[in-house]
Every structure is written in structure tokens, then in C-alpha cells.
Symmetry: D2
Subunit: 305 residues, 4 copies
């Protein structure tokens, strides 16, 4: 019979790791092997755990060097080559690595996640199985007023704790009631699972296996660790970024520097910087930028100070 | 300000069609032009409407014939060539046609739909905008007991109408309560939209623009018009199949015959048929098939009669 | 029988355009309609011609606004929204437009082109048909010495015309001899086409139909109009960029400014610029950049002047 | 400096395997580990060698069972489940396995191979490096007359050995001459590599790293082990099919039975078979099939005997 959520106690994980132990002649990432199969907690009921991987920093270098036959292999050169590839958008060698994760996450996070199409997914199906009674409930400090100026983000004036608690109670109330009705319709009314689930809120947890190559994973991480991404998916993305650091440390460094913390400077902003470097005083008025662009620009280059 | 659900009255559609009218030298599908922009209703609040298209049956033939230079163009030959392409799995010419739809559908249907990765999607975002108070509520005859023998489908003993109504009332009750709480949290508590929505059931309606090439659309239709697909997505798939019939009639015929109503016969079943054609009496016992396979097989070839 | 290369005289094109003329209610691009079906010459025997398209700048805006219901439609706002989408890497609305081209190009260019995987291709097949006697022969000024410092590019000391002519004669000689043998093996020895073609040089011309969405097309153009791309594919990319300008002028402007002529500034270079803006004198020594990075950096921001 | 073709002597491979040896807790395929890194010869100068892999039959089962929590693990049930998945086109669990190959192959084979878009590729680049003097020359028995009835395949009347040798000599002559000119232009005329290579015939060998998931690999194998595929790519596909047998034996069996040796029976042919099973004598005349379809049909079901 169906068993959800997946039981992942320390004993089960230890047994899994012992069962899988074998001598292999594949590419090998020592730090990642340490955490294989072990769940890393995310949000109130979620987790990310690495199921499998293919390739390492050396595999990226190997693929890049197929153009030159078998090249040298000194670590320092590998790091330099990976920086070079990242800097010049030579993305195909990064596709030569692959990661497989087991993730437990709320459905509304899953709905954002699944938009990354170049990945393989097997999700727990609520047509065939019964979803567990686990819903995402934000922490109190995540509850904040809808900002007027920024319809996407959160106001800086967080509300009073008593109000926040009232909100959490309201959300939890709907969740509790919906799950009771779900159980009732399944157990007492013998309704099909595929229909019964339609009353469940999108804060309920689901699980999936997710497999993706490193290039597309980095693209996911670029978008989903960004401050504009919703807080909840950012929590998952940050955990995965830590995993990438263990797995392919040179690529991690290159990614952070050349992608995550890089900025794309449009042509007219290159000119602005060169005018400023030439000694001209640049203001929004003589910049030609809109108010929004000027704010974004001066957040990175504080010409207005 | 945000306006949802989209207003698509007859007047608005007529104006749209008048506004878009132009003389073009592109491939042209007369029957599809007739229904462009007009919503076709699906389920209780949903619709499918064609926004745009590229290519026709003739475009498929054109692409297939690039291998042979500019060939003949008689309609009968075109139909034969399209049958030939479909029969021999020459799929790339069908990728030369493209369809763009505007679809309104419940989130749980959207979650199945989005798994077809080779497509372009823009979905209404409940992070930025407020979802309307429209939920999917099945028709009474869609409410049926969960079958024991087939956990995926529905029992043939439909329940009593009075019970079915009780189920619908329970679902509608959760929907109503959830939407009231959603409105309250947004309007009175100033909660962010991205958090408030997490209490909404997956039966709520959303909208999207969906663009896909004909080859991948046919794959979608093969899977989603199948009797194993959930009823609700089948309703959408059948409406789209009718659209395909208007758009590319030769391809439609070839698809129905060579794909939708075709069967894939495994190697050991080819042998079985040849034994039966040779006069041997085939039973499950001497077939080597499992009970499940034998049932599937004799549903198509009633050797057990 | 097979007819290659495709005959595209002015008369044939005029007839095609007349034949396709219809009143349509689809999205419409006036400037692109003007050149539909007409080949634009590229290199010595190649061409690009637009066969079909779907969508315009307005379609991008429409898809982006599905999140907000049907919004306003003033042209100036459309331009601003497209700039916003491009600036913030909101790429999915650009996928809502599609372009179909007929391209004639040398096989070695085709081999680079086909690496862009998110596209639909139907190529002339030399297994089934006979390739025409048309090979790419560079113009004399494209013939240059292999640079030692830059193994990818061309030396700035172009060789003597007499040497260049000698090179062209050598290439043309191999092409001529190979095609004669090819014809001989087909006509006199009755060799299969699929084997006979294996002796043909990769400079021979082939043809394809190519269909791609606008987002992926812009990615192609970003990479293939870059100065590091091989000259020959750059010629095609530049012709297609002109086509994009006619088709979706707002998107074209946004692409040039925010993508093609933009630079991606790594994190440590942001710091460098801010140090320079703060009045510090930056040199390679105190920049922490390698010689290569310093050269790239000061080409854009001439701090060394 | 560039070194091509890659040196893969037994010693080098043994050292590689020793160097890579580690204790891992990943999914493990014992038979595949035996041949990791070792080249399997294909055609006259080519090879296929497995560089890395992710997953096994058990990983497919694991992904399929995520819908049901952690299920039972008996081998016999795993085999049955894999058959079930293959039979019902549940393809996503097969995407959970990944294979990475190093392949050496002629460019004209590469041109067919690269059409399989859902894969990752790093190919030896002749823009940056010098191609080695290795060309594909068919075996004498592969040389056959172009069939009139089947423009794609080969006649059954193979030609005289003396003619075949003449053909081989002609092909080899062009190859030899082209490579001499190539070397001359590079060494004596200092022509850029990217231009010099344009005179090389498409029978020359190249190398690539190729990474693909199992579902897409099986699709490749279905198409490329088919008798309609060109002989040369079939040689590669058959070697890879043997690799799949070692790697995922249950999946291999299911693939051969339910895909490779299965037939897709169109709707009107199901009816034909049922008429024949009902005792009716079926001929082309009363079948409604075209001559071509009748031939294909009776090759599988010899109703005409």
C-alpha cells in the first residue's frame, strides 16, 4: 500500500548507504559522497536529498578538452579553465555533469519549479495515492503586509505579531478543514482520489525525484536564489547551491562570481560608466535612464552618492 | 489594475477579429480562421481558444519535400504523403506547424498539462495578481466510487445521487470557505498575494497562453485523449483535437488512424496472432501472457470469443 | 525527380506570394510581409528567406500581460514593457513568437547551426537526393594566415593576394575533383547516394527549413553575431538580425541594447569599477585580474588610458 | 598541443581505471563497470566507450514507485514493473538513468546523430584543432548498386568485386588528395584551420562526448538499429544496444520486446486482422490497403501465404 510521506530516519539512510556501497571506476566527488541519500531539511516539512550524481569539475574540463586531445591535468589549470568557460558562456561542458535529487516541497513551490523544462521529473501522484496531512505554514516573520510600491515583494513594515498569528491561524484553519473533508470523502464516501484531491490547498506537500544537468541547474539557481524569487523556493535553491559547492567546488566559485553576483550591463550603461570614469557628474537627468533603471543602476554603482 | 478572469464576450471577440484583419501571404487555414480568437467552453468555467497558428497540411508536405526539391502539389498526393510520414514516424515535418492557444483550466489540470515540456507557456500569476472566485465542481455523474480493482479509474457502480450531492456540497463548502479567507487576508489583513494564495484549493481556475508545435501537440493528444487520462484533461484534449481537425484535416485523419486508434503490438504478440492465423487455438495458458496482458490483448483481438 | 538547388527566380517568388494571399485575422507584421518568401543572398551561393512567422511585438506584450488581464495597448507602453522584460530576463513571453526560414548554406556552417537544439529542422537529404555542384569558396580577403597568438581568429597580417589566390585554387581544385568523382560513382558506377556523398567536402551547399521561437532565435543571434563566431555563420546571423528588425522592431532595439551590446560584469569587476569611480587608480597589478581578463576588461572600460 | 586522434591503448585505459577507483554509495551496475573507459571498435577507425553512467534498472523502479512511497524490492517484481512501464509508455522513469559515451565516428554519421536533440554534446573542433588523417572507407561488401525500386537502400544484386574495388580506390583517392591539400594549406600556406578544413570530405573521422538519458537513448536505438537506418550508424547503434544490455538488463529485454521488435498497428489494420481471425480471406483487393502498405503488412502477418 501507498506510504506517504517517505520515511527517512537515520537508520534507514544508514542502511541505504551501506547497501549501495561498491567499488566504482566512475568520476568521484568525495564531499558529495559524504551526504548522499541524507535529507537536508527545508521549510517546515520539506527536504532535499542527493540520490545520485554524474561527473565532477574534472569531467567539465575533460569535455572542454576533447577539442585538444587529452590535455594536462593540474588542478590550478582546471580551475582557470572552468573560470574561462563560465566567463565566455561556453556552456556545453557543464552539461556533462548530472545531479539527481529527491525533494519534498509544497505544491505552490512545485508549480514554480516545474517551469524549468530541461529536467526529468517523477512526482508523487495524488491520482493513485493519498497525500499526507502536511501543509506549509510560514514562520511568523515571513508574514508581512502586501507592499503597495512593490506588488511582488514584501513591505518593510512587518505587521504586529498578534495580526500575523491571526493570519497563520486562518491559513491553518483552512488546511485542517480541507484535509478532514479529503479524508472523509475518501474513507466514508469512497470518492475517487483524483477528484477528492481537488479540494486540497496548494500549500500541501508533495514529493518528487528531479534530475538535471549542471548547466541547467546553474540557470535554475541563478533565477531562484535571486532576491526577486519567492522566499520559499529560495530556501530550496540555497540548499541546492550548498550541495553544488560540495560537488563541483571550482564551478561553484565561477558561478558565484561570473553569474550569480554578476550584472548584465546594457550598452547605454557602459557609456554612462565611461562618462563617469572620465570625470563627468552623472545624474538621472543626464543619464537618459528611467527612474526605475536609475535606481537599479545606482544600487550597483552608487553614482548618486 | 489586474482583471481576472479575462472578459471574452462576443463583442470583444468580434472587435478583436476586426482589428486583426489583414491581407497576408502566409500559409492559410480557412476553417481555422473561422474560429480564431473565439473561446470554446470546457468544463464548468473553462475554455480553449485559438490565438494564432503557423502552417497547414501543405507546410508539412513542403518540409518533407525539401529533400526532393520543389515537388508536385496535387492534394491527393499530399494526403498520401502525410499518411506515409505518420506511418513511418517521420516526425520532423509535423514540427513545422505551430499552434497558440489561450486556455482557462483548473490548477490540477494545469499540473498535468505542464508536464509536456516541449511547449511555451505564460500563465496567470497569483504572486502578482488576485485569482477569481471560480472553482471546478464536477457534474454529478462524474462523482463515482473509487474502484478497488482499478485504483486509477472509476467504479462502474456509480453511487446514489443523494450521496453524490453530499460530496459536491462538501467540496463546494471548502472552496467557498477558502475563497472567503483568501479575500479576507488580502483585503482586511493586507497579506501578500504570494502567501495568501497558498490556502486556495487546486480546483481553482487559472489561465495560460500555450504554444506548441504540431508533432508535440499530437503526442499530447495521444496521451490525453486516452481513456486512462483523467476525465477533466480529456475534455480539453478532445476540444483541441476538434481544432486540429479544422486546422490540418489530412494530418488529423492520419493521426487518428496511425496513432490514436493504433496499437503497439509487442514482439511476442505478433507471434501469437500468427499462431492464431495459422489455426492454433490460443488461450491465456498457452499464450505466455500474464492475466493483465491477456485482458489487454483480447480486448483488441477477441481470441477468447 | 529530385531538383536541387531550389529554383527561386523572381517570377516563382511572385507567383508564390500571389498564391498565398489571403485575408487573415492573425497577428500581423507589415514590414515582414513585404519580404516573405523572397531570398536574401548570403555568401557566394547561399540565401535566407522567411517562409512564415507567428506573432509580433504585441504578442509578446499580450503574453506578458496574461498575468494582469487584458491591459492597455498604447505603443509607447508596449516598448517600455518589452525593454523591461528583456532587462529582467523574463524570457517566456519572447517564446510566443515563431519564425520559419528556408536557408541555403555550406555543410560546415550547418554543423555549427544544428548545435542550437531548441529548433525544428528539415534538411535536404543526400541519402535520398543528389547534391548540386555548389561549394563555398571564400572571398580573397577572407583568406588570412592562422594567427599564432589567437588560434581561433585570423592574423592581422593578411597574406599576399598571389598566395591567397593559390589557396583558393587549391580548395577549388579539391572541390571540382570531388564532385566529378561523385558524379562518376553515381552515374557510371551506380553507387548508392548515401555512400557516394561521403567523399564530398564539407564546403558543399545544403538547404534546410528552420523554425525557432524568438527567445531561442535571439540566443542564436547573440552567439552567432559575436566577433568570436566564424565569419561565415556571422554573415547568416547578420542577415537574420535584419529580418528580426523588420519583424519585431521593439524587441530588436531591446535585444541590441540589453543583450548583443551588453556585457556581463563579474562580481569582482563591479568592485573594480566602484574603486575606480571612487578615485583609485586601477592597474592590472592591483586589479587581481589575469592578463587576459584585464585586456577584456579595459577594452570595455579603458582604465589603462 | 592538440593531439588527435585520442590515444587509447590498453595501458592508458588500465591506468585510467585504476586512477578512478573509489568506494561509492551510488547506484551501481556491475557488468557496465567491467567495460568502463574501454573502447569498443566500430567501423574501420571508430569506437564507442562508456565514460560514465547514472542509475540502473532499480533506479527506474525507484522513480516509478515514488508515487507509492518506498515499495518492495524483489527482483522479479522489478522486472514486471519495468515491462509494465514500457508497455504503457510511462516514459519518465527511464529518464532517471543517464549514460555518457566517448564516440569516434565519420562526420556524415555525426550529422545524423546530432539530430537527436535531447542530448549533451562536446565535439572535437576543427576550428581550433587539426583533424587526423583518418577517413571512413566502406568494406567491399558494403559497396552496392543504387537500387531503383528503393532509393534509400541497397540493391540485392551486389556488384562485381572488381567494380567495388574501383569505387573504393576512387573514394580513397579523393580522401588522400584532400588531406594532402589540407596539410599543405596549414603547414606551408599558414591558412586558418577553420577555412582549411572546408575542403575535407564528410567521411573524415571526428570525436565527441555524448550524454543522454535512457528514455531518449532508447528512442535513438529504436530509430538507428532499424533496417531503414544507414548501415554505418546502425553499426554504432548495435554496439550501444549491447552496452544497454549490460547496464540495465531488464530494460533491455522490455525494449527489445515492446519497442524494437514491436509493430505499431494502425486502426484499419486491427480490423483486417480481426476479419482474418474470423475466417475471412484477406487480399490486397479487399483490404483497402495500398500496395506499399499491403507489402509492409504481409511481411509481418503473411496473410498472402
Amino acid at each position: 500500500m501507498s506510504k506517504f510521506p517517505t520515511d527517512l530516519s537515520d537508520d534507514i539512510i544508514d542502511n541505504l548507504r551501506a547497501e549501495y556501497k561498491n567499488e566504482s571506476v566512475r568520476s568521484f566527488s568525495p564531499e558529495l559522497e559524504e551526504i548522499l541519500h541524507k535529507p537536508v531539511p527545508v521549510l517546515d516539512h520539506g527536504f532535499v536529498r542527493v540520490i545520485d550524481y554524474m561527473g565532477t569539475d574534472a569531467s567539465i574540463v575533460q569535455a572542454a578538452r576533447v577539442s585538444y586531445g587529452i590535455g594536462t591535468k593540474k588542478a590550478q589549470e582546471d580551475k582557470g579553465l572552468i573560470n574561462y568557460l563560465m566567463r565566455h558562456n561556453h556552456t556545453t561542458p557543464f552539461e556533462m555533469c548530472e545531479l539527481k535529487l529527491h525533494v519534498k516541497l509544497p505544491i505552490f513551490v512545485m508549480r514554480q519549479w516545474v517551469r524549468h523544462r530541461t529536467a526529468n521529473i517523477n512526482e508523487y501522484s495524488a491520482r493513485y495515492s493519498i497525500l499526507g496531512n502536511e501543509f506549509y505554514l510560514p514562520e511568523i516573520d515571513q508574514i508581512a503586509r502586501q507592499s503597495d510600491s512593490n506588488r511582488q515583494g514584501k513591505s518593510e513594515n512587518a505587521m504586529e505579531p498578534i495580526q500575523a498569528q491571526e493570519i497563520l491561524d486562518a491559513i491553518a484553519g483552512v488546511q485542517k478543514d480541507a484535509y478532514e473533508k479529503y479524508s472523509h470523502l475518501l474513507d466514508d464516501m469512497a470518492l475517487t482520489r483524483e477528484i477528492a484531491r481537488t479540494l486540497l490547498p496548494i500549500g500541501i506537500y508533495t514529493e518528487m525525484y528531479w534530475k538535471i544537468d549542471l548547466h541547467n541547474l546553474l540557470h535554475f539557481l541563478k533565477l531562484r536564489t535571486d532576491s526577486h524569487a519567492q522566499y520559499e523556493i529560495r530556501c530550496y535553491a540555497n540548499v541546492i547551491l550548498d550541495i553544488v559547492k560540495k560537488w563541483v567546488p571550482y564551478t561553484y566559485d565561477a558561478f558565484v562570481n561570473y553569474r550569480q553576483k554578476a550584472v548584465s550591463l546594457p550598452h547605454h550603461c557602459i557609456n554612462l560608466i565611461n562618462r563617469a570614469l572620465g570625470g563627468e557628474k552623472i545624474s538621472q537627468e543626464n543619464s537618459g535612464l528611467s527612474k526605475g533603471e536609475w535606481q537599479e543602476f545606482t544600487k550597483i554603482f552608487p553614482l548618486d552618492k
